[in-house]
């Protein structure tokens, strides 16, 4: 039984508040990713879980036991550190056997078990080498084997993939998932890389400024971000400032810096009153882009193209920049003095060049809106 409960966790260093309030229950066997920018308190939270830091407030339960004040060496957690922290004066197999040695397991048995774990991560041929002579990916595997060798209830991973190159990191993500399924242990994985979090996690916990802002399954967090910070952090988006101009029973019209009003569809027209300032998020994946000549002509009037009650919006702008990003092309488009970006896959028909007029359109139902305090409007 290794369900973990963190309640009201706080860590203060003098006047600095590293972690303000983290409360979450991590299910037995779950893989939770703590995702956040650097300085958000995610690593400190992990270190408190490991027992390497003592919280200044709050409690940590692993299973039914309160382990808040229990030191690291008496906890059933094991950590894979960011720079792997392999003992440079020990061989690879001695590193892996270290935890078992501390448990008092006899030499023959611990070497046997360590060898088995090295086989699991396909590093058995390096058993007698000095870990300092290994490549980053190999060190990563040894660090993983060392942590798994003590058969922990909870495996803690502190950005272990951040020092690997992209390809290797992606391979390791898949391997970590496999190991997670095989060992049926609770994993807590800290990362600042949203792709990594989305690939690995059963649930993602988003941290900002020492607080756990939102916890949920990856698609839920992505589609229903709780606030503007999460929306901006989880992917690139166009934030557009605006003011509510008019509400109708099923739509909200927002006067924006794009020089024209944007129509949002709503089931909840009372959520907003006229004059409220808003930030709208227009993600590249909801925007479709076509050449301006092929569209309808009503844009000259500045009115949104509304047909039979739909909330399709469209605007015309001029391509300023073309940025090739591998499989996608990103265009930055000047719209009435401000700038937006849209993306198209290379496979999409037709490419635009700088100076081309394009029409960008989207469904108002797909737009997310945030109040000035960052909270999301429930449309």
């Amino acid at each position: 039984m290794s369900e973990i409960t963190l309640s009201g966790l706080e860590k203060r260093y003098g006047d600095t508040l590293a972690v303000e309030d983290v409360s979450v229950t991590i299910d037995d066997g779950e893989l939770l990713c703590l995702l956040g920018p650097s300085g958000s308190g995610k690593s400190t939270t992990l270190r408190m879980l490991a027992g390497l830091e003592t919280p200044t407030d709050g409690t940590i339960h692993i299973g039914d036991e309160d382990v808040t004040d229990r030191p690291a060496y008496e906890r059933t957690t094991a950590t894979v550190f960011q720079d792997w922290a392999l003992f440079p004066h020990k061989t690879v197999i001695e590193n892996v056997a270290f935890g078992l040695k501390m448990e008092g397991v006899g030499k023959t048995e611990r070497r046997e078990r360590a060898r088995g774990m090295l086989e699991r991560v396909r590093m058995e041929s390096h058993a007698d080498e000095n870990p300092m002579n290994l490549s980053g990916g190999q060190k990563q595997r040894v660090a993983l084997a060392r942590a798994l060798a003590v058969n922990p209830d909870v495996l803690l991973l502190d950005e272990p993939l951040s020092n690997l190159d992209k390809r290797l990191s992606e391979d390791m993500q898949i391997e970590l998932r496999e190991i997670h399924e095989e060992f049926e242990e609770t994993f807590v994985h800290v990362t600042h890389d949203q792709d990594e979090a989305f690939t690995l996690a059963d649930r993602i916990g988003i941290m900002a400024e020492g607080n756990l802002v939102q916890v949920g399954e990856p698609d839920e967090v992505y589609e229903n971000p709780k606030n503007r910070f999460i929306e901006g952090f989880l992917g690139d988006t166009n934030f557009v400032e605006g003011t509510v101009e008019r509400t109708t029973p099923d739509s909200i019209r927002v006067e924006t810096e794009l020089g024209r009003e944007v129509v949002l569809s709503t089931a909840n027209p009372d959520a907003l009153t006229e004059g409220t300032s808003l930030t709208l998020s227009l993600r590249p994946e909801i925007l479709s882009t076509e050449s301006a000549e092929s569209g309808s002509e009503d844009d000259a009037t500045g009115r949104p193209a509304l047909a039979d009650g739909s909330t399709t919006n469209s605007i015309v702008g001029t391509v300023e920049n073309v940025l090739y990003r591998g499989s996608t092309v990103r265009y930055s488009v000047a719209v009435d003095g401000t700038s937006m970006f849209v993306e198209r896959t290379v496979a999409d028909s037709g490419e635009f060049d700088a100076g081309d007029e394009v029409r960008i359109s989207w469904d108002g139902a797909d737009v997310l809106a945030f109040r000035d305090d960052g909270s999301r409007v429930d449309l």
Partner: protein
């Protein structure tokens, strides 16, 4: 020749001549120890090993030699234990107490040894430890501890503290994690610190003069009292032994670690 080559050569030549000028007295000491006459003259008229024989027949010198080694080893043990643990504790908790520690540790090095010697004499007489080996060891420890401490600060500042985290995380308690994760990575530094403590104790004279008795006097004390009576080549013999011990200790250190590493630790 290029300007840079000439500058290099000039720099080296002047550096070496300054070094040679400073080291020449050592050569004088060694050469005079082989003099045949009973007077300290340089260069000696005739050479012989007569004073070396004299040294091994003189019980006062032999016992001073024993005393010096005893005090040196004692100082090394106490100063190394104190210096290493202080530096380790300072690295672990760099709070307000730590900021006070560094200047506090430095204080004994800034007080003239003659003042330390007099005040410790008074102190140890009151404490009933007058003229004991322990009093000299403690006095030398006062000097040697800061040296060990500063060597270890520099060693620990290069230590990867995540290794300690990793060891604790894998179930090693406070002592085990120090022994298994820290010690193997800093043992060269501890060795260098211990060596410094030993050499400091071996050559310290002023405090030992105040604190020793006839039974506990160390080599520099005997050398001084002998010199005051007569300029005797025996002093040169003893000095030659001291020089050999120091060179021997550094040679052992150089072999045990390696010179390149040693110079890095001390720089």
């Amino acid at each position: 020749m290029h300007r840079e080559t000439i500058e290099d050569a000039l720099f080296r030549a002047s550096y070496l001549s300054i070094l040679a000028f400073m080291l020449l007295p050592l050569a004088v000491v060694v050469v005079t120890s082989f003099a045949e006459s009973g007077q300290l003259l340089f260069p000696p008229e005739n050479y012989s090993l007569v004073h070396y024989r004299g040294f091994f027949e003189e019980t006062r010198w032999i016992s001073a030699f024993d005393n010096s080694i005893l005090v040196g080893v004692g100082t090394t043990i106490v100063a190394t234990a104190l210096g290493v643990t202080a530096a380790f504790g300072h690295e672990l908790d760099d709070g307000r107490a730590g900021q006070l520690l560094a200047p506090l540790v430095l204080v004994p090095l800034l007080i003239p040894p003659i003042i330390l010697g007099i005040s410790m004499r008074v102190y140890f007489v009151r404490a009933g430890m007058d003229a004991s080996y322990l009093s000299i060891i403690l006095a030398h420890t006062l000097w040697a501890t800061p040296l060990v401490y500063f060597v270890m600060r520099s060693v620990f500042s290069r230590f990867d503290w995540r290794l300690l985290d990793a060891a604790r995380d894998l179930g090693a308690g406070p002592i085990q994690s120090f022994v298994y994760a820290v010690l193997p990575n800093v043992k060269h530094g501890i060795f260098v610190g211990a060596l410094l403590a030993f050499i400091v104790s071996l050559q310290e004279f002023v405090m030992a003069l105040f604190l020793s008795s006839h039974n506990t006097e160390t080599i520099p004390v005997v050398a001084w009292t002998t010199l005051r009576q007569s300029l005797d080549p025996m002093v040169s013999v003893v000095s030659t032994f001291l020089i050999l011990i120091s060179i021997g200790a550094i040679a052992v250190a150089a072999i045990a670690t390696n010179l390149d590493w040693l110079s890095k630790q001390l720089s």
